[in-house]
């Protein structure tokens, strides 16, 4: 796992403040069962989240130190440490993201211990995917976790629930990455969004990111918005990032 590549040390002061806002769609899964992790990842990515997955508690601590996750899903039976110790350690480091614990331990005292350790919720294996989805949604609905599912700029409206974008009343079908990019830019309207922030939001640790991936996504999204008649466009701030700006009406 390349945690180092995601380290946010060295961020500009006014930039670091923004990170806690825009990484809200990023979830960390900590489980060494690759089949289950694959299933959880598929489900959450399908819901529009960016998912990082690690198998060791040690890697989870590194990841959580460097990234402001919206949610962490932690299995209790990790190879290097007990998952409850990890939860305690995360809370001890003042990491406040909600934590959903996964476990095959189903005794009352286990559940109480898990919640007392700092977990926000508890899901016993085996679980139904629909229940996982519901619990994730419930945890993210808590105040300050998710800030609105309908967002708009000019004649562009996006709906995070259905992952749909609408321009001037008409549907604008977008691939997931472009939708996530648009959501980020809409949330940060009137602010320049640094390239690194876009990369952090769109890609997980294990995603292949080429040097011009962000430029390519921005180009495609810009073209899509233009073709759909959007009254806003993506402005490039060379060497810094991008900003979504409303187009001023031209002379009659």
């Amino acid at each position: 796992m390349n945690v180092a590549g995601k380290v946010s040390n060295g961020a500009m002061p006014d930039e670091s403040e923004e990170f806690s806002d825009v990484t809200q769609a990023r979830i960390l899964v900590v489980d060494d069962d690759r089949d289950l992790t694959g299933l959880v990842r598929r489900e959450l990515v399908g819901q529009g989240f960016t998912v990082d997955a690690v198998e060791l508690a040690e890697d989870a601590l590194l990841a959580a130190r460097d990234t402001a996750y919206a949610l962490m899903i932690v299995d209790l039976g990790l190879p290097d440490r007990d998952g409850l110790e990890l939860v305690r350690d995360l809370r001890g480091r003042l990491i406040e993201a909600p934590i959903l614990v996964l476990t095959a331990r189903n005794k009352v005292e286990d559940r109480v211990t898990g919640l007392s350790s700092g977990a926000d919720d508890y899901l016993v294996k085996p679980f139904a995917v629909s229940e996982l989805r519901a619990r994730v949604a419930a945890l993210l609905r808590r105040p300050s976790r998710m800030k609105g599912n309908h967002l708009s700029v000019a004649n562009i409206v996006i709906d995070r629930n259905s992952l749909e974008a609408v321009v001037d009343g008409g549907s604008l079908p977008l691939p997931l990455k472009q939708f996530q990019l648009l959501e980020l830019l809409v949330r940060r309207k009137n602010h320049v969004t640094p390239k690194r922030m876009i990369e952090e939001t769109l890609y997980g640790f294990n995603d292949e990111v080429s040097t011009n991936s962000i430029e390519a996504q921005v180009y495609k999204l810009r073209q899509a918005l233009r073709s759909a008649g959007a009254e806003a466009t993506i402005e490039t701030r060379r060497g810094i990032g991008y900003r979504l700006v409303e187009l001023k009406p031209g002379p009659l």
Binding site: D33, D35, L36, L39, R42, A104, K125, P126, V129
Partner: protein, 116 residues
Amino acid sequence: MAGEKGQVDRALLDPDGVFPQRLAGDRAFLAASAGDLWTLEAGARESRLRGIATLAHRLGGAAGTFGHHAVSEAALALEDEILDRQPGACLPSWQSRVRQAIDALARALDEALAAG
């Protein structure tokens, strides 16, 4: 029908069809681990039982999530039998229960693999 619904659900949960490979691997491990289990000396047997309990624990959690409920239930029952041994309990009785639980899990795995 419940069986058909299970098939559909499993296809959605495991679109690449990789989970049956895990079931097959676990079935092979169980056969290799349980074959001469009761003829081993005590230390080796305890070590082997811990391996079986670990497999049962992990399989119990994963199989049910992937829609293999019978495998999950049999695996969790086996884990319980292994871990719930009381000090001083009648050893032949306990061995018999563990043996039955291993056989039940083997049957559940065979049925799941046969169903595809």
